[in-house]
Each structure stands twice: as C-alpha cells, then as structure tokens.
C-alpha cells in the first residue's frame, strides 16, 4: 500500500479532499471499515503455469541438489524476475537488488540440500529466502526512513505499487499475478497497507502502528483479517486442484 495513499486515507477520514482523484472510487469502496467484505475472494492459481514438457520446479531443485548447473540456470531463467521484483520492493535500489539476487541464487545453489518438498514448494522456499535476505539488507543499512521516502516518491508516480499492467514478458506469470492481485484488491486499503509494510518492509505491528499513526490493536486486526482472506483465497483453489 503506498504510503502517500495512506496519508490520503487519513485525510479522507477527516473529511479533507485528497490529491489522487483516481483513487477516490477505490478508497470509498474499501475504507468503510476493516471487516471482511462480503464479496468472496476470487480463485487464485498458487503457482505459475509452465510450458508443456518443461521440468517442474521440484525437478530443477532436485537437479541443483545433485549439483547440476543447468538446473540452476533454468530455475534462474524462470524466477529471477520475480525474485528481483521482490528484492526491489524491499530495498528500492537496482544495483543492490542485482547484488542480492546473485547472492540469493548462490545461496539456493549452496543450500539446496536443505530444501525439503515435504515442507513446501521450491518457489515458496526461494521467496522466503530472498525476502529474508532483502529485509536483512534493509535493516543493515538502517534505511527504514529512506526506503519509506523512496517508496513514497515511487508511488507518487505509480499510485498502486501492487497493481501493474501485464507486458509481453510476463506471459508466463501474467494470469497468476492477475488472480493474486484480484484477491489483494478485495481487501480494504488499510489492510493492504498493513500487509505491505509487514511483508515488504519487514515491520513489526508496533512499527506499523507508529508509521501509520494507528492503534496497535487496529493494526493487528487489519493484518489478521487481510491475511486470512488472502490465505482462504489461495486455499480454495488448492483444494479444488
């Protein structure tokens, strides 16, 4: 959730006219309260669709576990864009994101033996690893304030950081992204903001409360309700498959 839009939310709650007119409809539909909305979450695909005959993520991880560089090469081609986007979302610096991306794929190579399919899927493992490294990097730089400012600047040009238009290069993941986005967009804006700050900025509930000038209990409720709705949306599809 873009910080500037959140400020806008506060303004709207006190009756002030906001700057982002194109957001007004969206905000008015989503800011009424933090209760789950009646609209059921759209079905979402839990993983991108692969080309027919392409090795699965699990097969590639098994290849990496057997020290096959080609398996890492294919896994890199498949997910470097997503992992870099995640890193960039956290640290907002292109050069540092590239360095981290390289380190993360080296870690995937070195730590592949620790991956267990019983504990989850390869993408989940990689995302968890990448997020942790990115947030560690952010904390080391003690850059919360700067990242917030950069995020604010970035979102002034791109009001909804989680919403993107699909491009040709995104075909593989396009449908998945659209579906995941639809789930996220069903959440009230305040819930999106809380989740955004927790997941992409690594903030605790107290930090989110301080950052957004919101009572701690409200932050907790927003996180719980928002995460439950997203989780339920994902689970619904998984149960069907």
């Amino acid at each position: 959730m873009p910080l500037n839009v959140l400020e806008e939310v506060s303004s709207n709650e006190t009756g002030t006219i906001g700057r982002y007119d194109d957001y007004m409809d969206f905000l008015s539909k989503n800011l009424a309260d933090d209760e789950p909305q009646e609209t059921p979450a759209p079905r979402v695909s839990p993983a991108p669709v692969l080309e027919p005959g392409a090795p699965s993520d699990l097969e590639l991880m098994q290849g990496i576990q057997q020290a096959d560089p080609e398996a890492l090469s294919l896994l890199y081609d498949r997910y470097n864009g997503i992992l870099k986007a995640l890193i960039l979302r956290v640290i907002h610096n292109e050069a540092e994101a590239d360095d981290l991306l390289q380190e993360i794929f080296m870690e995937i190579w070195n730590q592949a033996k620790n991956f267990s399919p019983q504990k989850g899927k390869p993408l989940g493992w990689m995302v968890t690893l990448a997020r942790r490294r990115a947030i560690d990097g952010l904390r080391k730089k003690q850059a919360y304030a700067r990242a917030g400012e950069r995020l604010k600047e970035e979102t002034e040009q791109q009001p909804e950081a989680w919403v993107h238009n699909a491009t040709e290069e995104e075909i593989t993941f396009g449908d998945t992204r659209v579906l995941v986005r639809k789930v996220i967009e069903t959440l009230p804006v305040a819930q999106q903001e809380a989740i955004n700050l927790a997941f992409f900025s690594g903030m605790s509930q107290r930090e989110i409360a301080a950052k957004t000038n919101t009572p701690l209990g409200t932050v907790k409720t927003r996180l719980e309700l928002g995460l439950k709705k997203i989780y339920d949306g994902l689970k619904e599809l998984r149960d069907e498959l």
């Binding site: 995640l86 080296m106 968890t128 986005r181």
Partner: protein, 78 residues
Amino acid sequence: MNFEEFQNQARLYVIGALEAEETEAFEAARKKFGQKADDYIAECYTLHEAFALSLRPAKSSDALKERLMAMVRNRKET
C-alpha cells in the same frame, strides 16, 4: 490459545509480524498442537509465494546471470 487463534497468529508469524511477547505464546501453542501446527505453518508460507507473484517481474542483465553461472561452475570444480 485455541487452534483458530493459533491459525491467525501463524499467518502473522510467517510474515514476521508477531511481536516478541506474542511469539512466546505462539511457540507454546505450537508445541501444544504438535504436527498439526507445523503443517499449518508450512501451508501459510504459500502467502510468501502469493505476495511475490503479485509483483511484475523485474529485468536483470545477462551479465548478472553469466557471473552467477561462472561462480557456480567454479564452485563445482573446486
């Protein structure tokens, strides 16, 4: 903490949003619920995938991949 409360906390836990004092109670509940709790936590990590997949992929240079693969091949040879 009942299991429904544990589930709510688990979703916060996987994104690192539990406060220290909550983590203590969460870990105690995790022990109480055993394997069922661990299975649920593992499932919650699908949230990580979902958030990552909600982003538009970012481009990386070909040189970055070349550097990476050179490092990997060196590592393999040594």
